[in-house]
């Protein structure tokens, strides 16, 4: 065993010392992510009969990965707001809705903007609408932030929650342009065709996953640069002590607004990608639960660290989807009869209960999240020692 760990240390040591090797490693990892949705590939993540399959047998793997990726985009956006600027936002899914609806309204031939209001003659291509979707999401971030950033902490949470709820209810009203639960079908897809002439982006989730993955990588680099700039330092200052930051001459309001706007823009990208794939957008998707789930993703992964947000975004989607199939693997019974009542105990239907347990367990053992940033992890370590006697030990 020690030989293995020794080898391991030598390998990691090598990578730690050599920058090209590290970059190479990342490239290999990213390449791995790109080939992941190919069935031939992922099915061998498991040795039959020995492990539980790591892929999702209960749902299309490419679709699950795509869902993971747009959730990761949302988590990255929210991480800017919660993780860097320290603003608790419970209504982040609202920006996703803005992005999705913008794309749907402009690209669908059945959009009311065309059929009823005659704003324009024919649908726009998907690609044209994406920048507009991002711009509108950013704008709505500013519009939300302007009044609500005056309140702080938990009050901000309820204000943002309210915002998302208002967007959802407006979307729900079918007499307005968003057409409520009836929704907007035939949303446009991204452009491009395979060599044989069939469109790349249609119903197969794989190309969308690749596209979204690319967006994630772009977003990670852009946000990384931003965080390392003056803006990022201002955010850290605001997060740690807003009053002190204000006294030091940091225009806190402006930087908080910035965080909101940037987070919202990333959320808008996510929404427009999703709308392009899903083909159909209606109000049912934009529930408050989804906002909470994205927040859970960020905090589960580790707020303030992009890698953590990515990990969290992946887990909150992947774990429940993966749990769908676990029952079949182990042959668990689907129902148990207790007192003449059939209790549904299949992992498929209990998957959110398991997920809830996971959230609790992770937070108990790693309150800083699974993959926190270095600075925060240190803070947490200190906090842990600062427990009052008897609460900590006894």
């Amino acid at each position: 065993m020690s030989a293995v760990t020794d080898l391991w240390h030598r390998v990691t040591g090598f990578f730690n010392q050599s920058k090209p090797a590290r970059i190479g490693l990342i490239v290999v990892f990213v390449a791995f992510l790109y080939v992941l949705p190919n069935r031939e590939f992922y099915e061998y993540l498991n040795i039959p009969g020995v492990w539980i399959p790591l892929y999702t047998t209960g749902n299309d793997m490419a679709f699950v990965l795509f869902t993971c990726t747009w959730t990761i985009l949302l988590a990255l956006g929210l991480n800017v707001v919660v993780g860097y600027a320290g603003l608790l936002d419970l209504g982040f899914f609202g920006f996703f809705a803005v992005g999705a609806y913008t794309v749907a309204l402009m690209t669908s031939p059945e959009s009311k903007l065309i059929t009823e209001y005659n704003w324009f003659e024919s649908p726009y291509p998907w690609l044209v609408t994406v920048p507009i979707a991002i711009a509108l999401a950013l704008l709505s971030g500013v519009l939300l932030g302007w009044p609500s950033l005056r309140v702080r902490g938990d009050y901000l949470a309820i204000v943002t929650l309210g915002f998302a709820e208002v967007i959802r209810i407006i979307a729900k009203n079918q007499d307005w342009i968003l057409n409520g639960d009836r929704g907007i079908p035939q949303v446009g897809h991204p452009p491009g065709t395979w060599p044989d002439g069939t469109p790349i982006f249609q119903f197969d989730a794989k190309p969308y996953y690749w596209l979204a993955l690319t967006m994630v990588i772009v977003a990670v680099f852009l946000i990384r640069n931003l965080v390392r700039s003056r803006v990022g330092r201002a955010w850290v200052a605001i997060r740690e002590d807003e009053d002190a930051a204000e006294l030091m001459g940091v225009p806190t309001f402006r930087f908080k607004l910035w965080a909101f706007a940037i987070g919202a823009a990333v959320g808008g990208i996510s929404g427009s990608l999703w709308a392009g794939y899903n083909n159909f957008v209606n109000s049912a998707t934009f529930s408050v639960e989804n906002s909470i789930l994205v927040l859970a993703a960020v905090l589960l992964g580790g707020a303030g660290n992009q890698a953590g947000a990515i990990l969290g975004g992946f887990l909150v989607v992947y774990v429940p989807e993966w749990l769908r199939s676990v029952g079949d693997v182990f042959g668990w019974p689907k129902t148990v009869r207790v007192f003449d009542i059939n209790l549904d105990v299949s992992p498929t239907s209990l998957r959110y209960a398991f997920f809830g347990v996971l959230l609790i367990v992770v937070m108990i053992f790693r309150p800083q999240g699974l993959w926190p940033n270095r600075r925060r992890a240190a803070e947490f370590k200190d906090r842990r020692q600062a427990v009052v006697v008897g609460e900590g030990v006894g």
């Binding site: 938990d154 309820i158 309210g162 408050v288 209990l350 959110y352 209960a353 906090r383 600062a386």
Partner: protein, 316 residues
Amino acid sequence: MHFDDLVNGFPNLTTTGLTQGAIYALIALGYTLVYGVLRLINFAHSEVFMFGTFGAMWTWGWLGFGSTSGRPGLGTAIMLIALGLVVAAVVSGATAVVVELVAYRPLRRRNAPPLAFLITAIGASFVLMELMGAATGRIQFGMPPLLPSNPVINVGGWRITPLQLATFVVALVVMFALDTFVQKTRFGRGIRAVAQDANTAALMGVNKGKVIALVFLLGGLLAGVAAVFHNMKTGNTRFNVGFLIGLKAFAAAVLGGIGNLRGALVGGLLLGLVESYGSALFGSNWTNVIAFVVLVVLLMFRPTGLLGESLGRARA
């Protein structure tokens, strides 16, 4: 805008709004108590409430009063309601304490940051809701008819049903009792002491763990009371009944000033009335929009709610 609906229905809208507001207030107290002491939004409180609705329903069902049975006599009905209140309060109280022990206490021992609590709260909420969903087949259950529907007061368009009267009276009595408990008793002082300065409270010999458990228990008991009246008012329950009403109650708590007991009462009643009038004016589908717009606008002008924060903490 339907002003005629508002004018014609004004007495009715007022009574239903106040009744609903009383239920909000009872649940809001649970949020506010926990927040006052721990600075924690107990997201699982909505499920604590939901467990109460089932506790009362199962008790009634066990006694032979199901949704399809006939209306019992007044004496029996009052007995049943009293029993339902006790059982629901116990079930909700126990659920709240279990959530505290399983999901929050371990985090406190590790001195985890507030956001970690938020996530375990969400996790606990998922677990409770999904377990109940699985246990009940995710279907809806009806309540037995208990109180007669003919009004006890019927003066000039003001029609007050026995249920509305009972809800309002019981809610006020319970809230008065809670306020007295917190203001006048030794345990109540302990709660306020921990809320104002946990370390000094410990130096005075206050067992913080016990106080926190007590706070969760109290919140749970009140949620149980709310659950029974919600059962009778809406006539049904199901596994996901807690989410929306919990959200509203939380909004009510914030409206009144979270952490402030009297604020929860004011916020709850106000929210109930605003929703009732608002949905007459704009249509029921806009109820939540109205509720949240009022909340946001109010927070713009009074950033800590109507009555300000905290269990008697002086505002900085």
